[in-house]
Amino acid sequence: MEPIVKLNDIYKTYQMGDIDVPVLKGVSLTVAQGEMVALMGSSGSGKSTLMNILGCLDRPNSGSYWLDGEEVAQLSANQRALLRNRKLGFVFQNFNLLPRTSALDNVAMPLLYSAGHISDRNARQRATEMLGRVGLQERINYEPSRLSGGQQQRVAIARALVNRPSLLLADEPTGNLDSRTSQEVLGMIRQLNQKEGITIIMVTHDPAVARHAGRIIHIHDGVIVDGAFSGVAEPHEAPAKSGISPEKEKEAK
């Protein structure tokens, strides 16, 4: 089966004045549909840089990147924005929710930028549904300042899922949480992977967290040490298609 993510010999070098700072030095990896992958490595090894490229926030200097069968490495900024909206979901270490904005509006926010027309009512309905899925149906109108860290991160997850992405990227999603809420959020992410079949790539420092993943990719100093390819058969009995099941899709329309 065609992998959802396929990186081939990615190089990324930052310019700091006159000095070149090479961060990624020929990264190649694949992630199959429905996989849950953890990305580990020491600080400064280039994990976030790699995630930015995977998330189409940044362009590599060289190398190719197929996302869902589409070559995306050299797309323009606007094309990448559209792609992010359609196919990618982000979960950040520091939640990045809009302050003084209800959970519902936070979750519905990506729909504002969707190409197709989504009516107000439809958008609300979809956001409510997503909040329900992360167990926050009671907290729809709460502002972030009145939610606990774990709840905030769950709102952020709902937001990442609202556009039914093929790939969920999470850069240290539990980095700002205590161990108990970490478990809660991780449980949720794993459930999304197992029940909904959403492909997940997650950066973490914590080996305990990494154990939740089906595969661990180790990166060191811009080079992947091991786990780049899913050599083994798929770890979970994942459904064929990511995202929401067809019945739900119909409902949302």
Binding site: L57, N78, L82, R84, N85, F90, T101
Partner: protein, 456 residues
């Protein structure tokens, strides 16, 4: 992103910090308020000036005879005796742009009632059309009639000042007053008009049929306004009702014989009048009226092409223009000041929007990460600035309107609501929003999502 969604998003973003939004927009509120108040007060005062001018007869054309000259000595404008009552009739008949016209003769004389006397500024001999031309109405009693003019009846209408000076609260109707020993019956009292633009009291006036003034009053004694000294010499000639136009001057030359008259016929003008007052149908008709009157009078006076007119026509346009240009200039000056405060308000908006863009860097990064293109970000911040400005503009309109209302209430200045001002204010505040909101919005749209997300 749909239009109303952008506005909705902008309003939500502004509502996250209502206090700041209010303070930011205060500059616009004050600026627009000042503009609206200025425009309304300015429009009010120029309206008041227009009214004052039209009380003097805004569309009135004053036709005067040209200068008489004899042996190289001219006697100044109006000294000629070229205008006749028939000219006035002809103008009425033949000039479609003229609404009404009246002959006018004036004199200056002492007026006596009982043991009180007064010399009014105006003793005007006119036809009944005069009141219409001057836009004047009778407050009490009635007007003079055409029959009065034909018969040179000794009736008159008094202005309020005269009523006050001569009658002291008594009703003057039906009373007899004397002008140069000719007694006039008062038939009406004019409505108050106040001072004209030259500061002359327009109510200090007696209106009588022009024939009466011409033949009974000025004919009696031309050279004196002092009644007592002339009374002895004129007493014999007045009040003789036998001849139609009494009080002719004593003839200086021997009577011409019939043969002399036949041999050497002289054009006889039975009456010359001092002015003709004509009212144009509207301000726009003034030039047409002037053209038509000139044509009629030139033809009647047998003036060949190329020869100068023997009369002159003046209108109030120049004065109206001078006065209204003065107020317009003042209003414009104040508007400039108000505009400057709008610009200052705009700079305030730009400043706060820049702060807001910096402060919301993470939000911008996040929006970009979930799919906002740079033009979405640009639009969002631009719309925020415009919404701020429009809200400020709306509040400013209320403020300015309220301000001018208070001015009217407490200072009794005339104000006029101006729709143009309101439309202009809305347009200007939207413009300020776009101009001063563009730079911050453009800065926001140029952000790199990764940098923005990492911003602390």
């Amino acid at each position: 992103m749909k239009g109303y969604r952008i506005i909705q998003t902008a309003i939500k973003a502004l509502r996250r910090n209502p206090m700041r939004a209010m303070l930011t927009t205060l500059g616009i509120v004050i600026g627009v308020g000042a503009v609206i108040a200025m425009m309304e007060i300015g429009a009010g005062s120029s309206g008041a000036i227009r009214k004052a001018i039209s009380s003097m007869g805004a569309n009135v054309l004053n036709i005067r005879p040209g200068a008489a000259s004899s042996g190289g000595v001219t006697f100044g404008a109006g000294s000629g005796i070229s205008l006749t009552p028939d000219d006035c009739e002809a103008i009425l008949r033949e000039c479609p742009a003229v609404r009404n016209a009246s002959p006018l003769v004036h004199t200056r004389a002492q007026v006596v009632y009982g043991n009180r006397n007064w010399v009014p500024t105006f003793i005007d001999g006119v036809s009944p059309a005069f009141l219409d031309v001057q836009n004047w109405t009778i407050e009490e009693g009635e007007s003079i009639t055409n029959r009065d003019v034909l018969n040179s009846n000794k009736v008159c209408i008094l202005g309020k000042t005269l009523v006050r000076e001569l009658f002291q609260g008594e009703s003057p109707l039906g009373k007899e007053i004397r002008i140069k020993n000719v007694s006039f019956r008062v038939v009406g009292v004019l409505k108050t008009k106040g001072a004209n633009m030259m500061g002359m009291d327009q109510d200090d006036i007696i209106i009588a049929p022009w024939t009466t003034i011409k033949y009974r009053v000025t004919g009696a004694a031309l050279e004196n306004t002092n009644q007592s000294s002339s009374s002895s010499s004129s007493s014999s000639t007045v009040n003789t009702l036998s001849n139609l136009y009494p009080g002719g001057q004593p003839s200086l030359y021997p009577e011409r014989s019939e043969i002399q008259a036949a041999d050497n016929p002289m054009p006889v003008r039975f009456a010359s009048i001092d002015h003709i007052l004509a009212a144009a149908r509207s301000t726009a008709d003034i030039p047409a009226a002037i053209r038509q009157i000139t044509a009629v009078l030139r033809e009647r006076h047998h003036i060949r092409p190329g020869q100068p007119d023997d009369f002159s026509i003046r209108d109030m346009t120049e004065m109206t223009n001078t006065l209204s240009s003065t107020t317009t200039m003042m209003t414009n000056l104040l508007l400039c000041v108000a505009m400057i405060s709008l610009v200052v308000g705009g700079v305030g908006i730009m400043n706060i929007m820049l702060v807001s863009v910096t402060e919301r860097t993470r939000e911008i990064g996040l929006r970009m990460a979930v799919g906002a293109r740079s033009r979405d970000i640009l639009r969002q911040f631009l719309v925020e600035a415009v919404v701020l400005c429009l809200v400020g503009g709306a509040l400013g309109i209320l403020l300015g309107h309220g301000g001018s209302y208070l001015v009217r209430l407490f200072l009794h200045w005339p104000v006029e609501t101006s729709v143009t001002a309101i439309i202009a204010a809305v347009a200007v505040s939207a413009g300020v929003g776009i101009v001063f909101g563009f730079y911050p919005a453009w800065k926001a749209s140029l952000m790199d999502p990764i940098e923005a997300l990492r911003y602390e």
